[in-house]
């Protein structure tokens, strides 16, 4: 970290004696001035009894900032699209890039440009006697953290009125994060960002419940609400869950899976992250550590990713005899990418039509694409896209609009660094995939 020149500190001091403190955290004068203004506005909004008290308070906050504590933790919030998201130490702060791709996805969904993918009839699943209503758009946010992605998507989509039957589930391993996400939900409901119809799910009777008496139904529902990951009377919900363990079958399919998983390798955590990230933000949300997900070691039917410490080799999950790809050497998975492997298999087993995953940089994006291409039934059934930081904007000069991965040309949208990998399930491929799944099941039974 380069030292701040004295001249800069002096200039800051001339503007306000508090400013050099903020400057130490913010590192540039422009952002320090803005941050100082927001801090002052925050203190003014507190309406402290005397001028001296508010000065004292401001000095205290500036001192905290000078120790590189993120402004979002000091002020306790971060705007995210039209929403306001509470921030607290221990939960990752929502990033502007996340905001950009989430609102871009919402825009695409609302404008109907993704209808061709969404309109595919879901494969008939009879898992757990559960049938997903055909007109339902269900979203799964994996590693939801503060809940920002779920809340913004749910708010934008439900306010557009295009998706009357919308359900969003946010999962996170940290109960602390889930608690904060639920607080954020309550806060934004209070601020009127959700229509009332978007919070409750009225259509909560299952076909198999039709014969039950009212009293029994009520008891059943109460029991479910207690133990279910996604209570049926809620349209948006956050629950603590380790995604490397199996998801209950009863959750059914999801139309969209979106995730901002931990993706920083431990070496770049030490070198590339800024001081305030390293010192104050939870490492759990930033660096995937195979050791910490103990439950992932269990051999679950759904969790295909087995996590030994460093290099993980997986076989392609299709039966050996039918696929020509088995000649490929087993793919080495970078420890930073273990979540993507899990997300890919999750999206396949839940027949997700759209899978959006945030990645750290272009090399990680390409690693994820290679991983996806190594799984034949994902490679065959999906259309890939890479999105940059601001996917809605025209590309800047010097930015490629196409990337070559294993001989396949992948389009790149937007301006900035490569930020997310998007998979769309193509309509034609769906049937094949069902066949594949059936074959897989059969082979499993044989074993």
């Amino acid at each position: 970290m380069p030292r701040l020149p004295h001249s800069l500190l002096l200039r800051a001091y001339k503007i306000s004696p508090f400013l050099p403190l903020v400057l130490r955290g913010a590192r540039t004068l422009d952002s320090a001035i803005n941050e100082f203004r927001w801090l002052r506005e925050h203190v003014e909004a507190c309406k402290l009894p005397s001028d001296q008290a508010s000065r004292k308070r401001l000095l205290y906050l500036c001192k905290r900032r000078s120790r590189a504590e993120p402004l979002q933790y000091i002020l306790g919030s971060q705007p995210f699209g039209p929403l306001d998201i509470k921030c607290r130490p221990g939960v990752l702060i929502p990033r502007p890039e996340t905001e950009a791709y989430t609102s871009h996805l919402a825009e695409l969904l609302i404008s109907g440009k993704l209808d061709e993918y969404l309109s595919i009839p879901a494969p008939e699943t009879k898992q757990g006697n559960f049938v997903t209503p055909s007109n339902q758009l269900s979203i799964l946010d994996v590693c939801s953290g503060s809940g920002c992605i779920s809340l913004l998507l749910h708010s934008l989509l439900s306010n557009s009125g295009k998706f009357p039957n919308l359900r969003t589930l946010g999962l996170d391993i940290s109960p602390h994060a889930v608690g904060l996400a639920n607080e954020n939900l309550a806060l934004n409901i209070q601020q009127g960002h959700f229509p009332i119809s978007a919070i409750r799910n009225d259509d909560d009777t299952r076909p198999q419940d039709k014969g039950l008496s009212n009293a029994r139904l009520k008891r059943k529902k109460a029991r479910e609400a207690k133990f279910s990951l996604f209570p049926r009377d809620k349209a948006i919900h956050f629950a603590p869950h380790d995604i490397f363990t199996s998801l209950p079958r009863s959750l059914g399919n999801f139309s969209i899976i979106i995730s901002n998983p931990p993706y920083i390798s431990s070496s770049s955590f030490a070198r590339e992250t800024t001081r305030s990230v390293r010192l104050y933000e939870p490492k759990l949300a930033l660096v995937p550590d195979p050791e910490s997900y103990s439950s992932s070691k269990k051999n679950n039917t759904e969790s295909t990713a087995s996590k030994s410490a460093n290099n993980i080799s997986i076989q392609s999950s299709t039966p050996d005899t039918s696929s020509p790809k088995t000649q490929n050497p087993p793919l080495q998975i970078d420890p930073a990418d273990i979540f993507y492997n899990r997300l890919l298999s999750l999206s396949a087993s839940r027949s997700a039509k759209i899978l959006l995953m945030e990645v750290g940089d272009s090399s990680q994006a390409i690693r994820v694409l290679k991983l996806a291409l190594s799984k034949p039934y994902i490679a065959k059934t999906s259309k890939f896209e890479l999105w940059r930081d601001f996917p809605g904007q025209a590309p800047q000069p010097g930015e490629d609009t196409v990337v070559d991965v294993n001989g396949q040309m992948i389009p790149v949208k937007g301006a900035g660094n490569i930020r997310s990998v998007v998979l769309f399930r193509t309509p034609s491929a769906l049937k094949e995939e069902q066949d594949e799944e059936r074959k897989e099941e059969k082979s499993r039974k044989k074993k």
């Binding site: 001339k14 503007i15 306000s16 913010a26 004068l29 422009d30 952002s31 001035i33 803005n34 941050e35 203004r37 927001w38 002052r40 993120p70 402004l71 979002q72 971060q78 705007p79 699209g81 039209p82 990752l92 702060i93 990033r95 502007p96 890039e97 905001e99 901002n260 931990p262 993706y263 920083i264 770049s268 590339e272 992250t273 800024t274 305030s276 990230v277 933000e281 949300a285 930033l286 945030e358 990645v359 750290g360 940089d361 930081d389 601001f390 904007q393 025209a394 900035g416 660094n417 930020r419």
Partner: protein
């Protein structure tokens, strides 16, 4: 020689030089005779349109037509009244000219005549004001932009004073005004601070605010001993005030109108989104989870006109973007309107001289030494500077005088246009 031992010179001058009659005005300001036939023809055509439209709507109802009727109604009623008065005047004239009228009646007629003539004057004035074309942005809320001009720090200080004046004016008139952007020279942005202002944008959020304040646009000159001056010399500096119509993207009132206008490529408010480049201040380096910046600045560039708008006041990028779009739309709408006015002004300029109001003209002087505020357009001087700076009644008086002046200019312009059109027809 004279009966009186001494007579003051002024008195002698007055009596001995009767040729120098000062302080006497012989030309009447406006008389009914001066009412131009071109203007009258225009009024008649508008009134006939009003009659035709109101007949049409007697059976069906159309929101657009009834809005137009509402606009024309004032002209129609004013014209009717004017014609009635004109008729009674001519009747009185024939009565007077008729030699058979008896003397009693004649006396009455003479009395009536004077009253009717004065009535006719007010009628024709009413008619002219009703004919003044309504500014297309009149009903909109507005953005008031204040920037210091020549004069360095002192100009910045006075810009702060002007900002305070307009805020006081708004609060006194119960108009909601909020600061959209506030930047001082050293980067602080506390409206109560003493540092010189660099740019401020006041959003005046009440319908009709543009019509009320558009006469404020122009260069405001100040003459005073600045706080920064230590030798007691008077300085002259200037502050530019820009008044832009504010186009609500999703206003509560009249929403359907704005929505339609924003989408319609022919309207002034339309901005093609593909013409606008958005720059968001991006974090250097890896971005994403690696950094947690608070940069929320948004810069919009309208490429065809090279108009740049940047916003960084709010922590929310979303909000900054919305505000920047609002400002950009206002700026472009104003520019489009000005370009159109330019053509019309060419016709008018021959008649009125420089009447187009832009940012180039000095419009008002605030002289602290004499405690005087003079508006250079209406020529009104007010010797109560403090009240003006507090946004008091005297500021109202000045604004009203400018508005009357503007109305008169509009009428002159209209006449010039009509005459030019008539001249073209003859050819």
């Amino acid at each position: 020689m004279f009966g009186a031992p001494w007579i003051c010179r002024r008195c002698t001058n007055t009596y001995l030089k009767p040729g120098r009659r000062r302080l006497l005005r012989f030309a009447s300001t406006t008389s009914h005779a001066s009412f131009s036939p071109a203007l009258l023809a225009r009024a008649r055509s508008l009134a006939s349109e009003h009659d035709r439209l109101s007949q049409e709507t007697s059976e069906t109802f159309d929101a657009k037509i009834s809005k137009r009727i509402g606009e024309l109604k004032s002209v129609a009623t004013a014209l009717k009244e004017w014609e009635n008065t004109q008729k009674s005047l001519s009747e009185l004239n024939t009565l007077l000219e008729d030699p058979t009228t008896d003397s009693e009646l004649r006396e009455l007629a003479v009395e009536d005549m004077a009253a009717t003539a004065s009535q006719l004057d007010t009628m024709s004035r009413n008619l002219t004001t009703s004919l003044t074309p309504k500014h297309p942005f009149e009903d909109l809320p507005c953005l008031l932009e204040i920037r210091p001009g020549v004069g360095g720090g002192e100009a910045g200080l006075f810009a702060g004073d002007l900002l305070r004046m307009y805020r006081a004016y708004c609060s006194r008139n119960n108009i909601r005004a909020s600061l959209l952007k506030f930047e001082t020279e050293d980067g602080g942005s506390d409206p109560s601070g003493d540092s010189p202002l660099q740019e401020a944008i006041l959003e005046i959020d009440c319908p009709g605010a543009y019509g009320k304040l558009r006469s404020e646009a122009g260069v405001h000159r100040v003459q005073r001993v600045p706080a920064t001056e230590n030798k007691g010399r008077t300085h002259t500096s200037a502050v530019a005030v820009l008044v832009l119509p504010s186009i609500p993207a999703s206003g509560t009132e009249g929403q359907e109108i704005w929505e339609a206008d924003l989408q319609d490529p022919n309207s002034d408010y339309y901005v093609n989104p593909t013409d606008v480049r958005t720059d968001v201040m991006r974090a250097r380096g890896a971005g994403g989870q690696h950094v947690n910046t608070t940069d929320s600045a948004v810069r919009l560039t309208h490429i065809p006109t090279n108009t740049v708008v940047s916003m960084q006041d709010s922590r929310s990028q979303h909000q900054n973007r919305e505000r920047a779009w609002q400002l950009l739309r206002s700026k472009l709408a104003q520019a489009k309107r000005e370009a159109r006015e330019e053509e019309v002004a060419k016709v008018r300029r021959g008649v009125i001289g420089v009447a187009k109001m832009g940012r180039g003209d000095k419009v008002r002087t605030y002289n602290y030494g004499q405690q005087r505020v003079t508006d250079h357009r209406s020529g009104l001087s007010v010797h109560n500077l403090d009240d003006v700076m507090e946004g008091g009644d005297d500021l109202d008086k000045i604004i009203d005088s400018v508005k009357t002046w503007l109305g008169e200019r509009e009428i002159e312009g209209l006449l010039a246009e009509d005459e030019a059109a008539a001249g073209n027809n003859k050819k």
